[in-house]
C-alpha cells in the first residue's frame, strides 16, 4: 500500500451522475503528482476525496495505511482562489493554522518568516491580502499551507489566475519548498507544461476516471532551460496526444 491510496472510489453529487468512477490511485511518499484533465472531468472532486474533504460513496481512501474519514492535521490544501482572510495581515494569514489552536511560539513565528523569505514576500508581511497582486496572494496561500510542515500537500490549480512569468517563478518556489520539506504533493492543473515541469508523475483524468499515468524522467533539480529540452517537449506532445483520444 502506498503513502496515499485511493482504492476503487466512487462519488456522485446529489441528483447527478457519478463524478468520480472507480478510481484507484497510489502515491508514494515524497512524490509530486500532477492531475491533468478538461474542466468538469472530476479533478477537484477527486482531490477533495483524497484530502478527506468528501467521503466516497464507494471505495476507500487510505493515508499511511489508515482509512481517511476526515482531513488530517498533517495535510495542507491550497484552493483555486487564495482564500485568504481579508481582515488579517499576510503574516497572520500564514499563522492561521496554528493560531486557531494556540498562540504561535517563537519557533513557529521564525518559521513563518522563513517561509515568507523563501516565497519572496517578506516585505509584504504586514500588508493585507487586498494590497497584494494575484501572484503574491498565491504565494501567501502556499506559505500558509506549509506552516505546519505537512507531509502531504493538495493544490487545486493554485496558479490559474496569474501571468505566465509569475507562474514560472511560483512553480520554482513551490518545488524548492516541497523538496526542502520532502512533501508529497497532488497538484491539479490545466497546463501540460506546468504538469511536466513540476511532477514525477502526470495522471490524466477523463469522465471521472484516471485514464493515463505518465512517469516524468527529469532530473530532480528543475531549471528554466529544461522547458526547451527535447525530452520535455516530446513528453508534453505525448500527453497532448493522449488528450485527443479522450473526451471529458
Amino acid at each position: 500500500m502506498g503513502f496515499l491510496t485511493l482504492d476503487h472510489i466512487y462519488y456522485s453529487y446529489p441528483g447527478q451522475g457519478s463524478t468520480v468512477k472507480d478510481v484507484t490511485w497510489q502515491i508514494e511518499e515524497g512524490e509530486f503528482h500532477c492531475l491533468l484533465g478538461k474542466s468538469g472531468c472530476g479533478k477537484t472532486t477527486l482531490l477533495k476525496l483524497a484530502a478527506g474533504l468528501l467521503k466516497p460513496d464507494k471505495g476507500k481512501v487510505y493515508w499511511q495505511e489508515v482509512e481517511v474519514s476526515k482531513p488530517s492535521s498533517q495535510v495542507g490544501y491550497v484552493f483555486q482562489s487564495p482564500t485568504l482572510l481579508e481582515w488579517k495581515t499576510v503574516f497572520d494569514n500564514i499563522l492561521l493554522p496554528i493560531s486557531l489552536k494556540r498562540k504561535p511560539n517563537s519557533r513557529e513565528l521564525d518559521y513563518g518568516e522563513t517561509l515568507l523569505e523563501l516565497m519572496g514576500i517578506i516585505s509584504q508581511k504586514d500588508k493585507y491580502p487586498t494590497e497584494l497582486s494575484g501572484g503574491q496572494q498565491s504565494r501567501v496561500a502556499i506559505a500558509r499551507s506549509l506552516i505546519q510542515r505537512p507531509s502531504m500537500l493538495f493544490l487545486d490549480e493554485p496558479f490559474a489566475a496569474v501571468d505566465a512569468i509569475t507562474r514560472e517563478e511560483l512553480q520554482d518556489d513551490l518545488l524548492k519548498l516541497c523538496q526542502l520539506q520532502k512533501t508529497t504533493v497532488i497538484f491539479i492543473t490545466h497546463d501540460i507544461t506546468e504538469a511536466v515541469y513540476l511532477s514525477d508523475h502526470v495522471a490524466i483524468m477523463s469522465g471521472g476516471q484516471i485514464v493515463h499515468d505518465y512517469k516524468v524522467n527529469l532530473p530532480q533539480e528543475r531549471g528554466f532551460k529544461m522547458r526547451y529540452d527535447t525530452y520535455f517537449n516530446e513528453l508534453c506532445l505525448k500527453i497532448r496526444q493522449s488528450f485527443s483520444g479522450v473526451s471529458s
Binding site: L53, K70, V75, Y77, L85, W87, L100, Y128, P129, T130
Partner: protein, 251 residues
C-alpha cells in the same frame, strides 16, 4: 474640501433659496420661510425647550436600537448556524414583519402604557428585522472554500463562526445595522405620535395642535440631524472598534 462637496453645499444653498422664494408669498401656517424656521430652532435650542424632548427621543432610539439589534444579531447567527431553527422560525419571523409594525403601536401603548417602554418596544421591533436578515444571509453565504479551509484546519464550529463567518459577514451585518439606525428614528417618533407628552414626535403633534408650523419644521430638522448623526455614529463605531476587521477590506 473636495469639488463634489462644494457642489453639495451649493445644492443645499440653492434649495434654501428656492424654499425662501416659494415660501415668501405663502402663509406661514402652510409653509414657513427658512429664516422663520431657523429662528424657531435657535430659540428652542438656546432656551433649553427642546432639550428634554431630544434626550427622551435619543434614549428611546438608543434603547430600542440596542435591544432590537442585539436580538436580531443573536437570532440571525443561531438561524444561520442551525438549519432546523431556521426552517422552524423563518415563517414566523416573516409573519411578524408582514404585520405593519406601526399599526401595532396602539396595541403596545395599551400593553406597556404611555411611558417610554412602549416606544422602546416599537423601535426594537422595527430595528430587529434588518439585522436578523443581514446576519442570517452573511452567516449562510460564507465562501464555501473558506469553510472547507477551516474544516481542513480542524477548526471547531464555534471557531469557524467567530474567526470566519462573523468577520467575513461584517460588511453585510453593518449594512443591516445602518438600515436599523435610520429606522429606529421612525419607530421612536411614531410611538411618540400615538401616545406620550415628551419626545420630538410628541412635539410635532403638539405643534400641529397649536398650528405652529415653524416649530414643526424646526423639530423635523432636529430629527433629520439626529438620524444623520446616528448614521455617522455607526461609521465612527466601525472605525474605532471594528478597525482590525474592516481595515484590509477598505483598501
Amino acid at each position: 474640501m473636495k469639488k463634489v462637496e462644494y457642489y453639495s453645499m451649493l445644492l443645499l444653498l440653492l434649495m434654501l433659496i428656492g424654499w425662501e422664494l416659494i415660501a415668501g408669498p405663502m402663509s406661514e401656517l402652510v409653509l414657513p420661510a427658512p429664516a422663520a424656521v431657523f429662528i424657531e430652532l435657535w430659540n428652542g435650542l438656546s432656551s433649553g425647550y427642546f432639550l428634554p424632548h431630544i434626550l427622551r427621543t435619543i434614549t428611546e432610539i438608543v434603547l430600542g436600537l440596542s435591544i432590537g439589534c442585539t436580538m436580531g444579531f443573536i437570532l440571525g447567527v443561531l438561524m444561520g448556524e442551525i438549519d432546523f431553527l431556521r426552517k422552524l422560525l423563518f415563517p414566523y419571523v416573516i409573519a411578524s414583519q408582514a404585520v405593519p409594525k406601526l399599526a401595532l403601536a396602539p396595541l403596545f401603548i395599551l400593553w406597556f402604557g404611555f411611558g417610554m417602554t412602549s416606544k422602546v418596544v416599537i423601535t426594537a421591533l422595527i430595528c430587529f428585522f434588518p439585522l436578523l436578515e443581514n446576519t442570517l444571509t452573511a452567516i449562510q453565504y460564507t465562501d464555501p472554500n473558506k469553510k472547507d479551509l477551516f474544516y481542513i484546519l480542524g477548526a471547531t464550529r464555534l471557531q469557524t463562526l467567530i474567526h470566519l463567518k462573523i468577520p467575513a459577514g461584517l460588511p453585510a451585518i453593518l449594512a443591516g445595522f445602518r438600515v436599523s439606525v435610520v429606522l429606529a428614528v421612525v419607530g421612536a417618533v411614531v410611538g411618540e405620535f400615538i401616545g406620550g407628552s415628551e419626545g420630538l414626535g410628541a412635539l410635532i403633534i403638539a405643534s400641529q395642535g397649536m398650528m405652529d408650523t415653524p416649530l414643526m419644521f424646526a423639530v423635523l430638522i432636529l430629527l433629520t440631524l439626529m438620524g444623520m448623526l446616528l448614521y455617522l455614529g455607526v461609521n465612527l463605531i466601525e472605525g474605532l472598534f471594528l478597525k482590525t476587521y474592516m481595515k484590509g477590506r477598505n483598501k
